[in-house]
Each structure stands twice: as C-alpha cells, then as structure tokens.
C-alpha cells in the first residue's frame, strides 16, 4: 500500500513526510521527524502528554492520524521557546519546580499556553478544568496550577 505523502506546517516551518495510514501524528512527530518533546503516556486520549495545537485548537496527537496533518498548521512544545529564550510558562515551571519526572510537562505547557492565549486572566478553577485532561503522576498538580496562575499574572503586567 502506498504511503500518504503529507505537506504540512510544523512550528511555522513547512514540512513534508511520508506515513502509513495507521501512524498517528504522535508517531510521525516522534519517530519520523525527531520531535520527541511530545510524549506518549497512554495512547488513548486520557493523559494529555501528547498535546499539540492543530490549526489553533488543542488536540491529542495520539488521537490524530499523521495523514490528517495535510494542509494544517501544527504547533508542538519544540516551538514554544523563541530560540534560547524560554516562554514565560517554561521559566516559571523551572523556577517554581512545577515538574518532577517531566513526562507530563510538554503537554501541560502546550495546553496552558493555549489557555492563556484565550483567557489571559483565568481563575484557579478555570485553570484546573482546562488542564483536567493533562494527568501528572508526580507533582500533585498544585505547583503546576500555581506556576500557570503566576505566569498569567506576570504576562498581564508586562
């Protein structure tokens, strides 16, 4: 069976790849494109470790076919920092130790950035609901939520 030839945009750069139909976007990112920031925690949409943006909407890369990327714009954790300059969320996650093993972190960051772009002044409840699909086995969530709230406040002030 012929592979799918896909032309897409990833983190603002034009990208072409070949994939089998059964390969997910997450498989393509990690195995074919070397973008291993997005993690596979569950492969069933439950953990959010594979979170990416697809045409401006948050999605699980494990629940999307690579072939579906044709003509779309995908943003991953690798596109979050501007070169060496970390995104304010990334800085605060480091500063406030909002991660331990780090498996959930790329997905949490992508999801949190999407929230702050829609809602620069979320309540703690809104942050918790927005991130309910990002599971973390280590931190107990409090530090994650605090880092997101602090970043929101900081970004509003600047």
């Amino acid at each position: 069976m012929a592979k799918n030839h896909v032309t897409t945009t990833i983190n603002g750069e034009p990208v072409e790849f070949l994939c089998e139909t059964h390969e997910t976007m997450l498989d393509v990112l990690r195995n074919d494109l070397g973008l291993t920031g997005s993690k596979e925690g569950c492969g069933s949409g439950d953990c959010g470790a594979c979170s990416v943006m697809v045409d401006g909407r948050l999605a699980c890369a494990c629940l999307m076919l690579g072939a579906e990327a044709e003509g779309r714009s995908i943003e991953t954790i690798e596109g979050m920092a501007a070169g060496e300059e970390l995104h304010p969320l990334q800085k605060n996650f480091v500063k406030e130790a909002a991660l331990q093993c780090g498996i959930c972190t790329p997905g949490v960051l992508v999801a949190a950035k999407a929230l702050l772009e829609r809602n620069p002044d979320p309540t703690e409840t809104e942050v918790r609901y927005w991130l309910a699909g990002n599971l973390c086995r280590c931190t107990g969530y409090d530090k994650i939520i605090r880092a997101v709230m602090d970043t929101a406040a900081e970004m509003r002030a600047n």
Partner: protein, 285 residues
Amino acid sequence: MRYVAPSTLEEASAFLVDANGNGRVLAGGTDLLVQLRAGMANPDTIVDVKHIDELMTIKEEADGIRIGAAVCGQAMGEHAGLNNTWPGLVEATELIGSTQVQGRASAGGNLCNASPAADSVPAMIAAGAMISVYGPDGHRELAVENFATAPGKTNLKEGELITSIKLPKPAEHSGDAYLRMTPRTEMDIAIVGLGVALTLDSEGTVTAARVGLGAVAPTAMLVKEAGDALVGSKLDDEALERAAEACRKACNPINDKRGTIEYRTKIAGVLLKRVAKIAAERAGS
C-alpha cells in the same frame, strides 16, 4: 488501510460504497482512533470528512440552527447563537472529554459511536433535533431518538453519513438544560445523563416539554411520559414526582461497579427534577 479526504458528500459516500462495508468515516477521531489502536476496528478505507464544508459549519437558518456533523465541541461552545438558544445542548457537548478532546470531538461522532452514555445525545433528543443523512439514495432526515438501534449500532445504511444536525428555533420562553451523574467530576462516563427542553406561558405554566434520557438503557431515549407529566404544571412537587417516576420506569440499565441498577434508576428521577428546574429558570429569564 488507505486514507482519503474528499471535499464533497458525493465523493465521501462513493468511497464508503467502494469500501464495501470496510470503510469508516473519520471526524474528530476521538472514538475511532482509540478503536483502531486497540485493534477493535480495522477498516480498509478511512474517509476523513473534515474537508467537506457542509460538515464543518454552523449555520443559522430561518427556522433554527444547523450544526455540521463534524464541527468540534469547542467550536459549538464558541457559537453565540447556539449558546443563546440551546445552552443545555452546548453544556452537554462541552462535557465530552478534556479540552484536548473538545478540540476534535463532534456531535456527529458522538451520535454515530452510539454509546448509550453519549453526553450530547439526550440533550439533542430533548431539543427535538433532526439528523440529516446523505447516501447513495440521496438525502433523508430522522429524529435523534430514532437513530441509535443498540450499543454501537445506528440506523445508517451502507454508504451513508450524517451531514448535519438541525435544531429547531425554540418558541418564546423556552429553555433547555442537561446534567449527568459521574463517579468523578471530570474525564468520566455518565451513569445517567438527562436533558430537558421546555416552554412556559406568561404565567409560568409549562406548555411543552421533552425529556431525553441516556446511560440507563441500550440507547438514549425520549421519555415522552415524563415530558407529558410536566405539561400543564408549574413544576410543582407532584408534577415533578410524576415525571421522575416516568424516568425511573424507562430505565433498563446495566449493573456495574460504576453504578448499580438501583442507583442509576434512582438518580434518573433525581436528575429529572434538577434539570427541569434549570430549564424552567432559563425559559423564564
């Protein structure tokens, strides 16, 4: 397995017909990808319908709102007209999964997956929504309550797909609401889901009511007796209890660790009362 992404209904249907029973429509993929990965589905052809304009738009029409079958839950939540007229349906749709799932999951997929616990379905039944189907024999329409025939089974024929879901324009002083009961507050499946849509007159008496009930029988259903019990009342305790009893009677649930038969049945009555009151509040304001 091949992937196709047609831009017209005719092509999409033709791909499904060609696949001879081994074709699957792909909308948001939040059910289909899970099934593919678990080896529960192994189609020859995957027909991605997200390039067909009609399936991707929400349109306000003279007599209601038409939602493209593949429009994602988040886009429904962003639509002002839909929020104003059918807030209960929007709430029900937004309960589907996490933010990540919301960015992809569609009402059409929720219908076609035909889970008894699908959250948007009781709300659509309460709203009196109609499903538009396209296939080899052209277009046809059917009511949401007549669509699922058993868990995972629908009345779609080979080569058919849902194109849109039409919500009627509500009469003045109408409101709808949906609540579900889940063992956890987020990322869980309903053990009961219940939607009510009703209309009041200027005195606050109910003139029309529909009740949709999910997760307590092989398919979500219209509980006509429950709606009828509310009509003519001002939602006094007696009318609410009669409607609750009709909901309990309609239950034929499974028994599992997430909810026993007794518990699911009891909760169906409890939710009826709560949801009817929220719908009436909305109708009155």
